[in-house]
């Protein structure tokens, strides 16, 4: 049984935000960059004690560098494109939850759906979310289809759903069909997150600890960052 400690998690979130920023601004090792971008998509930017300015431009640059001039995905760049798209969404949406001014500092880049026509469902889905959220305004969430998208992707989406609902303003939800399809997943954390969202929407109060603890993927993902990068980060 893991006991969640809010103080520890908050501190870890701040540390992660710092690490990601430092790595992306100072390290050229592709492995470290990939790990940092991966982590950037799970950090609660602007939440708790983390008021760190995310390296948004670098992430967008990394994302765009995954595509050639015809907007086709370079071979072998799928993971980097996927995780950088996730990070862009995460930062943009958390900024929208804060204020219009803040959101305007992290605009979503223009993407073409033809770029990812032949790629996997997770990448297609995250790109479609970038497209839906290109215009400023209330964040728009589109649920992954459980029969095509992976559990990891669905969990990330549901975490974002929890965060946005908690932070407000509530997102606009697209596609009732995809929403209901998520009831057919056997992935319990995703379902739990959906329940938590409705609990909040029906006026239920959720302790800060629960919100932070509900996302069990933070700790797991943070462990995947290379130890060298961790050490470097700690030296700052």
């Amino acid at each position: 049984v893991r006991v969640w400690n809010l103080e520890t998690i908050l501190r870890q979130n701040v540390d992660n935000a710092r690490c990601v920023s430092w790595i992306l601004r100072n390290i050229t090792d592709p492995e470290a960059i990939d790990s940092a971008i991966r982590l950037a998509g799970t950090i609660r930017w602007f939440d708790g004690d983390s008021d760190h300015d995310p390296p948004f431009d670098l992430i967008v640059f990394t994302f765009e560098a995954c595509f050639d001039s015809n907007r086709q995905l370079y071979s072998g760049m799928r993971d980097r494109a996927y995780f950088s798209a996730r990070a862009i969404l995460q930062i943009n949406m958390m900024a929208r939850a804060q204020s219009h001014e803040r959101a305007s500092k992290y605009p979503i880049p223009a993407v073409s759906s033809t770029s990812v026509q032949d790629t996997d469902p997770d990448l297609r889905h995250v790109i479609s979310m970038l497209k839906h959220n290109f215009a400023p305004g209330i964040p728009i969430l589109d649920f992954p289809m459980v029969d095509t998208n992976t559990h990891a992707h669905s969990l990330w989406m549901s975490n974002l759903f929890v965060d946005l609902t908690h932070a407000g303003p509530n997102p606009t939800l697209r596609s009732y069909g995809s929403y209901l399809s998520s009831a057919f997943t056997d992935h319990q954390p995703t379902v739990s997150n959906t329940h938590l969202v409705w609990y909040m929407l029906l006026g239920g109060h959720v302790e800060e600890e629960t919100i932070w603890a509900v996302d069990k993927s933070y700790v797991a993902v943070s462990l995947s960052i290379p130890s060298s990068a961790r050490l470097n980060c700690a030296c700052q």
Binding site: V146, D147, L173, Y176, L180, S181, F184, Q188, A213
Partner: protein
Amino acid sequence: VHASDSLETILSYLSTRVMNTITDGTCLRDLHYLLEFLSAWENQPECLVPMAYQWSCAVPEPAERLEWNNFTLRRKILLQLRPRLQYPDQFSGTTGGIQFAEEEFSEVGHRCNSLRLDDTSHRARGRPQNPISDRYVNLLPTTLEIGFRRVTPGRDRSALHLDHTPHHNRMFETAFSSDDDEVVADAVSVWIVDGDWAPPGSSVRYLAKRVKKVTPFAPILRRPSILVIERIWRNELEASGLETIRLLNRLDIDVDDMVERDVWVELLVRATCLPAGLETLSSHYWSLLDKLASGPDFRWMPGSCNIEVMGALEKAEGWDKLEVWLVVVWQSLDYPTPSSTMEDVGQVTLKLLLQRASALLRFRDLQVDGNLHYPHVVELRRICDQAQMEQLSSEPPPPPYVSFCPAQHLSILISPFLRLSPPTHVQPFVSLPFGGDDTF
């Protein structure tokens, strides 16, 4: 935090919010979205069943308080078929049967005050004028579906406890008044989950209304009705025997419908012993009892040796039924048996065997395959022998002795091909009955 623990904890918190939302009538649209999700939820935990029951019982009261006098709403709640969910393969396809318009689903939260929401939402266009009414319409069917659509007879019911409140009667009245078989079936399934709480005869009384209205039972309603009877038949027979039998007659239950066959043997025997049972139970069930009483599912039932039923059948000369009943009676005789009872049963059995020669073989088999005490086997054999003797003595004289040897006849037929001579001295091994021969 263990994953399953946190899910149950979240659900219990959620349940409280659902109850509040139903009661105060706000955020009904969001509630509708949540309930649709829960009803589509494939891996529902069992703890959701009592929660859903609590929600369903809570629906009629606020609906009544707000609008119940409004006949239109009442009719809607009773009649309207809510959109049915389609299942996973249909979600993904473009031709899938998803019945919700995509634009139905948009912003949630914050503006969930239903009146204000409907004034401001673009989805209010073209919708009926009474938003609260509309949103209460589907709550009862959906909550019942969440709790009871997936009830199966095999599930461990001991862990489930439904919290019954005075509101449940109103919920049942509303649900059973519906013309939607699925709603009624879900309500019936409450007794499958927890049938011990209910006043005896209540499920049959609710279903009796249905019996008057619908012919025949829809498959979706028939199945839970049969399971309920199988589960709580004692209470139902005691309190409303005639109505239970009428319901049985409408359901036309067969062996394949049964989960526990031995329960049904006892049920049918007890139903037959009721004052109205003999006249009312349809011949279909006599055939069924016949099938079950001869099979391995028959078990000894104390007190089912009902002499009155036997006497009535004898008096009415209902030989088919009497044969079935005597098969039951012989297997249910206590030991030691009072001599008067033994004498009555013996006499009636002999009378039956003299009336129906075909029953003789059945009672011979019963001596071997039935669940009889040994002294009763001896007595039944004596009666069978006596009946056979009397049958034979009353028959016209047989034709002269004929020996029939299939081997001989066969060899005659095939000998031209086998080039063999037919045997000349073959002992006959099948003899046609002849007067005085008791080795049949």
